[in-house]
Subunit: 276 residues, 2 copies
DNA sequence: CGGGAACTTGATAGAGCTCAAGCGTGGTGG
DNA sequence: CCACCACGCTTGAGCTCTATCAAGTTCCCG
């Protein structure tokens, strides 16, 4: 069962900078910079040609696996955009337990939670060697003033994050363990596709523990669910290597053996309270 | 057991407009307006005196119980701020099930989810007669440009919502049913206190169904948990009327009868990845 | 006063957690 | 270069929590 090979990543990673990971200069600051257009492209924000791309330069910074980009309570002054690599964002509750909130990857912005209280409420850790673009919040927000088209984009990015969290709440609140895991795989598949990698086969960058924590499950349940999916041919798993054999089935999966629909509160609160 | 009386609300509601609910003019638009200062106060945003409060006037709109303020898919052009009353925001997943995302109340902004895709991804329904301030998004964002101090405030409000959703994910992902219900009560208590009402006793504005949906539980579990809290004197409940007898205990509650600490993933995923 | 929604309570079952043991894999030191 | 060790993963057994199904009661509205 350990013959499964997933190699897409080694060959597909498109940024030359990553190879620098093994070189002495790795992690030195100030080596790479991006202009505004590059940042907007990364964020999937439309840029008008009128913007002077070179008016601002944004510094890159490289992190090794396990390093923290920012920590809880640290004063906020920076937003971050993932240029390459994989990370996890976690919150620590009052009992000291971690709660994984997300896995930022290429094109994702993180650190937004710090704006409100002027200090980060989460911490973000590199799950692989990473390259992150530093965006000083003051500069970012001033772009909204000077380039009015940028303004909607900024709000849009923040709104997008909010919608994503809301979807997460919906997932945690109503789906079975199997459905959560299935959706998680589809989510990864779509992200990888967006990034130009294969959406069919990839390597997980996080542990079962982290996946389970993110999905509100234990690592054992995640492991068992992977095994179950594997057993019926939905996917092929071997450790971190995953192949999705039927993405559509994963997308709509509710429960495995007896697919009893528990649509419970369907006809709940939307019609008897009809707007007069 | 039905002798419990909670009357704080009837007497405490401070806005005269509510009494208009029973009058013919109710729900007619354009009756009340707020200036910028009033809006900022409501949002708990610091306003500098330099801002000309009367430069902008924001229209109020009144809704009766059950009416929708906005619906899913409706084109986005407006943000909303609750001036009075209670609402719920819900998402509908692909199977048609509702997912309650929150209960906006006085001072809360909603509709933010619509910015990203230019249409609302949620709908918001009045749980009581409500008065809502309409804030055209274009005007709101232009305030960020003209009054630069407003800008941070706007981002702050959006960030606050994101943090709130993240906390919700944490709650759903890791707490027992009892702990979720307890936190929910504490959450309400704090909101009511903020609004100037009693944080010790209040009336729930939502059904057990809605609470359960919000917390990822069934209505039966919510009901049983209320009863259990009632039985040990933590709270007193009778239908929608609630008295919190020990807020601190609710705040830290993890589990009820045998308070065995199972701090599970305590020493889990934060040390082996220490930043070199 | 009737009907329906909301709420409570009980009985039962099953999904997922906990505890526990074993294995594979990758990194490290001898 | 190989052996060891630790961490991550898998799998099993048992048990608990919470969902589900089912009445029955209360409250609110017409």
């Amino acid at each position: 069962m350990s013959t499964l090979q997933v190699t897409e990543f080694r060959s597909a990673v498109p940024h030359a900078a990553v190879s620098a990971a093994t070189m002495p200069g790795w992690q030195r600051q100030g080596k790479l910079w991006s202009n505004l257009k590059e940042v907007c492209d990364l964020l999937r924000i439309p840029v008008s040609a009128r913007v002077n791309s070179d008016e601002f330069q944004f510094q890159h910074m490289q992190f090794k696996t396990g390093q923290r980009i920012h920590t809880i309570g640290q004063p906020f002054d920076m937003l971050y955009i993932v240029y390459s690599g994989f990370l996890k964002s976690v919150m620590i509750d009052e009992t000291g337990s971690e709660q994984v909130l997300g896995f930022p990857m290429k094109g994702d912005m993180f650190g937004i939670d710090g704006i409100h209280s002027r200090q980060y409420s989460t911490e973000t850790v590199a799950l692989s060697n990473c390259e992150v673009i530093l965006v000083p919040f003051k500069i970012f927000s001033s772009l909204g003033r000077t380039h009015s088209e940028m303004e909607a984009a900024i709000y849009g990015v923040m709104s997008r994050e909010l919608v994503r969290e809301q979807a997460m709440v919906g997932t945690l609140g109503s789906l079975s363990a199997e459905a959560r895991v299935a959706r998680f795989l589809v989510f990864l598949s779509e992200r990888f596709t967006d990034m130009g990698y294969s959406g069919k086969q990839f390597n997980l960058r996080m542990t079962r523990q982290e996946i389970g924590n993110y999905l509100g499950l234990t690592l054992e349940t995640v492991s068992r669910t992977f095994s179950a999916f594997n057993a019926i041919g939905l996917i092929s798993v071997d450790q971190r290597a995953v192949v999705l054999n039927d993405v559509q089935a994963l997308r709509t999966l509710r429960r495995l053996p007896p697919s009893q629909s528990r649509s419970k509160q369907r006809p709940a609160a939307s019609r008897q309270l009809s707007a007069a």
